[in-house]
Structure formats: C-alpha cells, structure tokens
Amino acid sequence: MAMLEVRDLCTSFFTPDEAEMPAVVDVSFSLEEGQTLALVGESGCGKTTCALSIMRLLPANGAIVGGQILFNNCDLVTMPEDELREVRWKDISLIFQGAMNAFNPVRTVGDQIAEALRLHMNMEEAIAKKRVVELLELVGIVGSRAAQYPHQYSGGMRQRGMIAMALACMPRILIADEPTTALDVMVQAQILELLERLQKELGLAVILVTHDLGVVAEICQKVVVMYGGKVAEYADVDTIYNSPQHPYTQRLLEAFPDLNRPGDSLASIPGYPPRLSDLPPGCRFEPRCPVAFDRCQVEDPAVHQVAADHWVACHLVEKLALSQEDRRRRAEQTRAGVEGGR
C-alpha cells in the first residue's frame, strides 16, 4: 500500500446559486515514499485544486464531493478538523504558487518558521532558534537572516524560505504548487536542484504541480497529466516522454520547444481549455483533439490501463488497445487452429 493514495477524488466549486462546477473529477494516483510525482496540465485544469484538496485547504466555495485520500490508512477527506490540523505541516506540507505573500510581512521569517516548530513539536525558544538556522542553511540561506522580514528577501530567497518552513516539522510529503513560476531561470534551477537534493537526503516525497514539462523531466519519477479536471494520462516519466498515448500529452510534448531544433516553428494546441460552467458532454478534450471520432462527442472516456503502471483516458487508445487485443487473440486462435489442425 502506497504512502498516499488518491482514489476517485471529486472536488467542485459552488456558485452563490448553489450551482456545481466540477473542477476535479475522478482523479486517482498514488505516491510512494521518497517519490516525486508531477501533476501536469494547463492553467485551470484542476491540478492546484487537486493539491489543495489533499490538505483540505480549498476556498470557502469549494468542497470535496467524492472520493478518498488515504494517508497512513486514514481517509483525509472524512477526518475531523482537529485531527487534520495535526497532519497538516507535520506529515504533509505545502508551498504555494507565488510565495510573494505567503509570509506575513510584519513578522520575521525566523519567527514564522519557529511558529511551526512550536506548534507541532513543542520546541522551546532556544532550541527552536537553532533549528530555524539549520533549516535556513539547508535551503541555502544565511542563518543570520532569520531575524529579517520577508520584504528583505529576494523572490528566490522567499521561495527557499518557504521550503525551509515547509520542512520544519520533517514532513513525509511536500506538495509544491508551481514553485518555479514567476522566478527567473537561474533561480528556477537553484530551486529544482534544492528539491532534488532534499528528495535524496531526506527521503522526501514530493507532489510537484506544474505546467512546465522541462521541470518535470528533471526531477520527477511519475507523471499525472490532467485536462479539464480529469486524468488524461498517468505513467512514469520515461513512458510519458518516450511513448505518450493520450493525444493531449502528445500535443503538449510537441508544443514544448526543443533547443536541439531551434529552426522548428512553435506548435500550439488550438482552442482553449473548457470552462467549468460550460463543459462539453463527451470527452473534455474533444473540441481540440485532432483524432477525435464520434464516440468522443457523447461519452467521457474512463481511465483505462494500457500497460503496467500506465493509464490513459482516451477512446481511441482504448479502441486501439482492444483491437490490438483482438488481433492478438485471433492470431493465437489461428495459431492454435493451425496447430490443432495438424
């Protein structure tokens, strides 16, 4: 049993008229110890909502409406709030997109990190102070900066500070929501390097939410490609990059500019991701899919396993896989018949 298992998670947002906008539908994946898993997709595909759902930090108009999130055999979805507070930060912690304001501007960085230590580990002042310095140095910030305020840190430093704070209580899982967006390339590299190092040194499991495929290739082992709130493809990183099956994944990879072929024109996927209030009746990718056929317009594909550790939600893939199955079986039968006929 994996450390974290998300099973058929469904999260929706509700308008003031109580109309439901399903943002995450039947998403399933699992995370092992020390593994890094990527949640990849365009803006608005539900990956951040998915990440926030794990810790039940949804905004007030959102709610988990179905599924389970199993962590250590406990379902985080139904856990009472005060128990959940124990899990938060101590077992699973989070760094946000755009950590610009994630720190309270009127308190020192060190104080805010110590707050987590005091809360979950009951540390005394003096020990907490030392631990804060350790944590900052772990992420490459000079320890004396603990007494400074967030506005005195650069953007990259603030992000690293957030990572330090997120690691304060030695969590098993770190959820990183777009940790490198809004940072320049040099700083991006630093942060990624840091995450990789932490993964190796501390055995930290990471869920990386991103739209940047380059980042994914560098440090992740497993990838969940999401589209329109559903899982499009779920496999390990090599499979995704070398033999993607879902048309969306394929287009996504194509759209990524290849530095080795600078002369190529930029490919993009025409159209826009679906609006939650206006979802197409069949497959959500159908309006933009180059290989869609009639079934795609009426039926939303279920996630289908095409190989060990490789799942795809696409009618075409299913059809091809079935016809492959079919051909194999017929070939076997023919062989059997031929042999039987001897």
């Binding site: 930090l57 304001n101 720190f103 309270n104 009127v106 809360l119 305020y149």
Partner: protein, 400 residues
C-alpha cells in the same frame, strides 16, 4: 528609502501643510470679508475717530502683505501676524476683549474631556466588533454590525444628539415605553417573518427543519437587538441625565468628587451620542481591513500550518490590522473635530466647537480665526504623529 528618509519626508510635508494652513487662515480672514474692521467695530455708537483708533489698535491700518512705504518692508499685517503667531499671540477677541489664546485654551480642555472618553470606548469596541464581524462574514452578527454602522453613518451627528435629547427630556413612563417598544418589536418581527418566509416555503429538499431553524435564528437576533435597544432607551429616558451644559448652573461643589460626579452626569448623553457615531465608523473600517487581511496568502499559509482559527486571528490578522487602525484613528481626528462642533452646539457644551459656533454668530473674527487655526493645526499634527508611529510599527518601513 530608509526609515530616516521617510520620517524626514513626512516631517517636511507636515511642516509645509501647517504653514499652508497658517497662510490660508490669514488669507481667509483678512482678505475675504472686505474690511474686517467694520465687522469688529460695527458698534454704531463709535464715532469715526474711535473707529479709526480701534483700527490702529488691531493693526488693521497697515498694508496687508508688504509694507512698501519706506522703513521696514515686513511691517505688514501678514508678517505681524506670523510673528505674533510664533509668540503665541492670536489676537484679542472683538467681543470679550480678552486674548484669544486664553479663551481657546480655556475651552480646549473641555472639548478634549468630552471627546476623549467617547473615542477610547468606541475604538476598543469598534476594533473588537469589527474583527468579529469580519471573521464571521455573512453571519447575522455581521449583518447586524453592517446595518448598525450604516444607520449611524447616515444620521447626522447633531440629529442623533437631538434624538437623545428628546428621549431624555420626554417624560414617558416605564409602561408607556414598554408598550411603544412592544408595538415596534411586533411590527418588526412580522416584517422579518415576511422577508424570510418565501425562502422557508420553497421546500426544495428535506431540510425544512434547517430553514425553520434559520428563521428562528433571525428572529432571535432581531429580538436580541430589540432587547438591547429597549434597555438602552430605558437608560436614556429614565436616567435623569441633564440635557445640556457642562455643569449644573449655579451649583457649588463641596468636593472634587461631587464635581466629577456632576461632570460625569453631564457627559453621559453627549458621550453616548458621539460614541455611537464613532463606533459605527470604526467598526466598518476595521471590518474591511480585516476582511482584506483574511484574504491574503499568508493566512492560507497559517491555516496550512495547522493553526486554529483563533490562533490565526490572534497571531497574524490582528497584528496586521493594527497598522491601518493607527492611521484610521489619526485620520478620524478630523472627523472628531467636525463632530465636536455639532455635538457641542446641540448639548450646549462650552468647548472649542461651540466657541466656533458662537464666534460665528457674533462675528468675533479673531476668535474664529484662532479657533480654526488651532483645530486645523492639531489635526495636522495628529496625522503627522500617526505617520511617525506607523513608520515604527511597519517593519517594511522600519528596516529596508
């Protein structure tokens, strides 16, 4: 920029504003109403010579800005005014023939006494209730708080004072009061039920009990507010509080305690009036500050850390809300001063505001000029102190 630069900039700007107001003051009172001498010396019994003598005495025969008739070019009304100001001489009252500064200082403390208590109480209550309203946004408490603030904001201060006076001077009996309020309460309850009933009747799902509970909740809130209102009106009507002035006329005080008691009784009605108005204002501003703060990312961080709501409010929201509150209190001094004029007029309180009012009707320009200057400058200085205080409280300014 460093904190020092910030402070210097603020001080320089404050100084400039003060100078501007000083010049404005002069301009308003010397230039505007034609010949102020005529106003001050309008006594028809005075002959030409005596009028002229008075003009000389008040320095009104000199040129206004610069004296170009040989000798000292600064021997003009403007510079004499500046020099006098620096010496604390604000001129002499036309009517009372006393130095203006003496009159103003005598009245100033009375205004301060009146306004201070109301300010302190409404700040404390307003901050607390505003915080609560923001936290429980959308709840019936929040709605009540908003309604209260909106109503007190729409009431002119002097009108609220008039209402208080009417209540205090009415001789309604306990029975009469209960009856009136009972009728009002009944009508109100009917309105509330009619308002909510359509929602209750829409039996969409089996949560009818829930909707009835909400209706009862609303009624209870309404009923609770009515009880509070009733007790309040009872207090004002039957409390026997004096309806005007600062002291009981013609009374002597054997001890300080008896003076303070009498003073206190006179302060009740105007303080309540002013307190209500200020409370509404503080509550609504605190509420919107806290709402903004609670929508910030760092609150989500705190929640993700596993802090309880109360801990988040206490350790994060409150601290951050203090910053705009400080600015608010200082800014509100301007409002306080305006309110004081109305308040003191209605309650015949012999303070600075009332002085302005009296000087206006008696056309006592030196007093009017001096009072305006004093008010404006004190508000400017208060704002300046708020800016300085803010620079110490906000670490973004304190360290760069």
């Amino acid at each position: 920029m460093s904190q020092r630069d910030y402070l210097i900039r603020k001080l320089a700007w404050g100084l400039f504003t003060v100078l501007f107001v000083v010049a404005l003051n002069f301009f308003l009172f010397r230039i505007m109403p034609g010949d102020p001498a005529k106003a001050g010396v309008k006594d028809p019994r005075l002959g030409r010579e005596q009028q002229e003598a008075l003009r000389v005495r008040f320095g009104l025969d000199k040129p206004v800005f610069l004296n170009l008739e040989g000798g000292n070019p600064f021997d003009s009304q403007f510079f004499i005014y500046l020099v006098n100001l620096a010496r604390g001489d604000l001129g002499i009252s036309y009517k009372e023939n006393r130095p203006v500064i003496d009159i103003l200082l005598d009245r100033l403390w009375r205004t301060v006494v009146l306004v201070m208590v109301a300010q302190i109480v409404s700040i404390l209550l307003g901050v607390g209730l505003g915080l609560l309203a923001a936290w429980r946004r959308g709840s019936s408490f929040d709605v009540w708080a908003l309604a209260f603030s909106l109503i007190t904001w729409s009431l002119p201060t002097f009108f609220l004072g008039i209402i208080m006076l009417i209540l205090a001077s009415s001789r309604m009996s306990l029975v009469g009061l209960t009856r009136t309020l009972g009728i009002m309460g009944g009508l109100g309850a009917v309105l509330v039920v009619l308002w909510r009933l359509p929602k209750v009747l829409r039996l969409a799902d089996g949560t009818l009990a829930e909707k009835w509970l909400r209706l009862i909740n609303t009624l209870l809130t309404w009923g609770g507010s009515l009880v509070v209102l009733y007790l309040f009106v009872l207090f004002v009507v039957r409390g026997g509080f004096p309806t005007g002035g600062m002291e009981t006329a013609g009374r002597t005080y054997p001890s300080l305690a008896s003076y303070l008691l009498d003073l206190g009784k006179h302060m009740v009605l105007p303080t309540i009036t002013f307190g209500l108005v200020l409370l509404g204002e503080y509550m609504i501003i605190m509420r919107s500050s806290v709402l903004e703060i609670l929508s910030e990312d760092y609150i989500l961080t705190a929640k993700a850390k596993g802090l309880t709501n109360w801990q988040i409010l206490r350790d994060h929201a409150l601290k951050n809300a203090m910053l705009p509150i400080v600015t608010l209190i200082a800014l509100n001094l301007g409002f306080t001063v305006s309110g004081a004029i109305q308040l003191e007029t209605v309650f015949s309180w012999p303070g600075l505001g009332r002085t302005i009012f009296d000087a206006l009707s008696k056309l006592d320009y030196p007093v009017l000029q001096g009072a305006f200057l004093l008010l404006a400058v004190s508000v400017i200085l208060a704002n300046l102190s708020a800016d300085l205080l803010y620079s110490y409280l906000d670490p973004r300014i304190r360290n760069v």
